[in-house]
């Protein structure tokens, strides 16, 4: 199984995911209010906004972890009231988390292999014997995981339990685990939070490479505005659950509402 030659990033245009009039509330707290936007195939789409704006809630709605009270989600042409986690995963939505959500007791390699769970089909009974079909399948997927490990330059920590790794590497392993799913849509929740400059540069490069080489569509939440403006094709800005702007980085940067709510002005 080689890295699939997916259509190049230039194919951007066709809508992959469309969120329409989604509202989500927890009791009296209205986390998302009537937000609509779309993500096109092959683009890097950023979601920005101040803390508590509903960015992470939006990602949770997209991969079915939260169920919105109103609105529709159209993914790959199918319109739904809400997604379900398993359904989202099976249809190629992968996710990394703001606070690293790795399987701490497992090695880097096992974490990445776990990302391929849905693509492994040998039944429980073959797993009992291991030698034979189950091991062959395992080896086939190991090859794919090794390509990801090469790609992310984490060969040295392959057999290391991830709990012992430094934070920057953990984030990278988490990206690897998401990539192992061969996603069509990759949701990155603050992939650069808490990183130093060098780590941020590395991570930015990986995100661009993933987008270019694998043709993966990326939706990204990030607070480092410089990075966001450089990386993304289009940006959605949320504030208190409302969408206040949507467009290309330059348009968003000069939008008065965005400056008031989030970017601020240099005094």
């Amino acid at each position: 199984m080689s890295v699939a030659a997916v259509e190049p990033a230039t194919a951007a245009g066709e809508t992959l995911l469309k969120v329409e009039n989604v509202s989500l509330s927890f009791g009296g707290v209205r986390a998302i209010r009537d937000v609509s936007f779309d993500i096109r195939r092959g683009e890097i789409r950023a979601i920005i906004g101040p803390n508590g704006a509903g960015k992470t809630s939006m990602l949770n709605v997209i991969n079915g972890f939260y169920h919105p009270q109103a609105g529709r989600i159209t993914y790959k042409g199918a319109t739904r009231r809400r997604m379900r986690p398993h359904q989202a995963a099976a249809q190629g939505v992968a996710r990394t988390f703001q606070n690293v959500a790795l399987f701490k007791g497992m090695t880097t390699l096992d974490n990445i292999l776990t990302g391929r769970t849905l693509r492994m089909h040998k039944s429980f009974f073959w797993q009992l014997w291991r030698y034979g079909p189950a091991l062959n399948e395992e080896i086939e997927h190991r090859k794919y995981c090794e390509e990801i490990i090469d790609f992310l330059e984490i060969e040295r920590i392959r057999k290391e339990p991830v709990g012992r790794l430094p934070y920057g590497l953990q984030k990278r392993v988490e990206l690897g685990r998401a990539l192992a799913m061969q996603p069509d849509l990759l949701l990155l929740d603050e992939p650069m939070a808490g990183m130093n400059l060098e780590e941020k540069e590395d991570m930015s490069r990986f995100i661009l490479d993933v987008n270019a080489e694998f043709g993966t569509t990326i939706a990204l939440i990030e607070h480092d505005i410089g990075v966001v403006m450089d990386l993304s094709d289009r940006i959605v800005v949320l504030d208190y659950g409302n969408k206040i702007a949507d467009g290309k980085p330059d348009e968003v940067r000069s939008d008065q509402k965005v400056i008031d709510a989030y970017l601020g002005v240099v005094h």
């Binding site: 988390f97 007791g105 497992m106 769970t117 040998k122 080896i139």
Partner: protein, 357 residues
């Protein structure tokens, strides 16, 4: 000095992904199995019947609990009762259909215990941690109540106990009063090796990874596409299958007869301690745990006699509790993650010796 992996190059993923990638480990394992096979030739009857057979059976039950608690992170206090289900199922099946091979019934009783385990595992989707432990406690009390109150389970035996009938395997008595300890030991050893091998296959593959994923971060596991309920129930199924088999073996190969009290909450706690002290999420840890909690007191008890000291029986008993308890605390302070972790650290130290790292 002899424990080095230098020079052992892996040229295929298959070699790299084997369960024991280091040659010395494989040799060690082979030596242990050979030692276990020749043990009856050198050891006395007490050693075989009262130390090794129970040790193997308890280790197997600990492996069963480890699948649930160590690998999947679901705390269970119903292990004793699930062993009881296996024991009673095996007794009923074997007395109803005496002609069929006892090994078949031991495996079949595992499946009965498996079904009961899945049933009591259903709440695990909604509740976790201590609360799940309480839910499994309900299983413990309910099942133990059944063992007492449903006379059909013990064939209306006036004593309320189950007594193992004599059964043969290839013409040799393996259960009942006429079976020799050596025969029972070999049967137990064969089952334990087979089950351990299968469990080791399971936890090193996709299923084991999904168990650990649920344990370590259930949200992330869900978003990868692992279905929580299905995975947790599978863990309950595998775990109670193994504990059921261990329970059947406990009565048929070790005790010979059992009252409902043999499967009480104490048994559940002892197995949980074995798993915690041995090492959560480690197969070898289950053996270490069983050795520490079951075999160590026997050794402590036998020590004064070996050195020709005459101490009163009661004093020996008290001392045994004291020393075993102290040792358990000592090991937990030295390595809270269990003996398996200690073993791993030791191996790592050996590998790089004489350098510190």
């Amino acid at each position: 000095m002899f424990y080095r992996e230098a020079g052992q190059y892996k040229t295929t993923y298959q070699a790299d992904m084997s369960v024991f990638p280091i040659l010395q480990d494989r040799i060690g394992l082979a030596l242990i199995i050979v030692a276990a096979l020749v043990l009856p030739l050198v050891a006395g009857e007490f050693m075989i019947a009262s130390v090794m057979v129970p040790f193997l059976i308890l280790a197997l039950a600990a492996i069963g609990l480890n699948i649930l608690t160590g690998y999947t992170g679901l705390v269970s206090l119903g292990t004793g009762a699930f062993m009881g289900v296996g024991a009673y199922a095996c007794y009923k099946l074997s007395t109803t259909f005496p002609a069929i091979n006892i090994l078949v019934w031991i495996v079949a009783s595992g499946f009965v215990s498996c079904a009961v385990g899945v049933l009591f595992g259903l709440p695990s989707l909604r509740i976790k941690g201590f609360y799940l432990a309480v839910a499994t406690l309900a299983a413990q009390f309910f099942l133990q109540w059944c063992f007492v109150r449903v006379p059909w389970l013990y064939n209306y035996n006036p004593s309320g106990a189950i007594e193992v009938p004599s059964r043969t395997l290839f013409g040799i008595h393996v259960t009942g009063a006429s079976a020799t300890p050596t025969t029972r030991y070999y049967v137990a050893l064969a089952i334990v090796i087979a089950v351990t091998w299968i469990v080791s296959n399971l936890v090193h593959g996709r299923v084991g990874r999904s168990f650990m994923a649920v344990r370590d971060m259930d949200i992330a596991a869900q978003l990868i596409g692992i279905r929580l309920l299905r995975t947790k129930l599978l863990a309950f199924a595998v775990s109670s299958f193994i504990t059921g088999v261990a329970g059947a073996m406990m009565v048929f190969l070790w005790l010979g007869a059992a009252e409902p009290d043999a499967f009480n909450i104490n048994q559940s706690f002892i197995l949980l301690f074995m798993v915690i002290i041995g090492g959560l999420g480690s197969l070898i840890g289950s053996f270490f745990g069983a050795a520490l909690i079951y075999v160590l007191p026997i050794i402590v008890r036998a020590t004064p006699e070996t050195f020709g000291l005459t101490i009163g029986a009661a004093t020996v008993e008290h001392l045994t509790y004291l020393i075993t308890g102290a040792l358990i605390i000592f090991f937990l302070i030295v390595e809270p993650l269990g003996l398996a972790r200690l073993w791993q650290i030791g191996k790592q130290k050996l590998r790089v010796w004489p350098f510190p790292y």
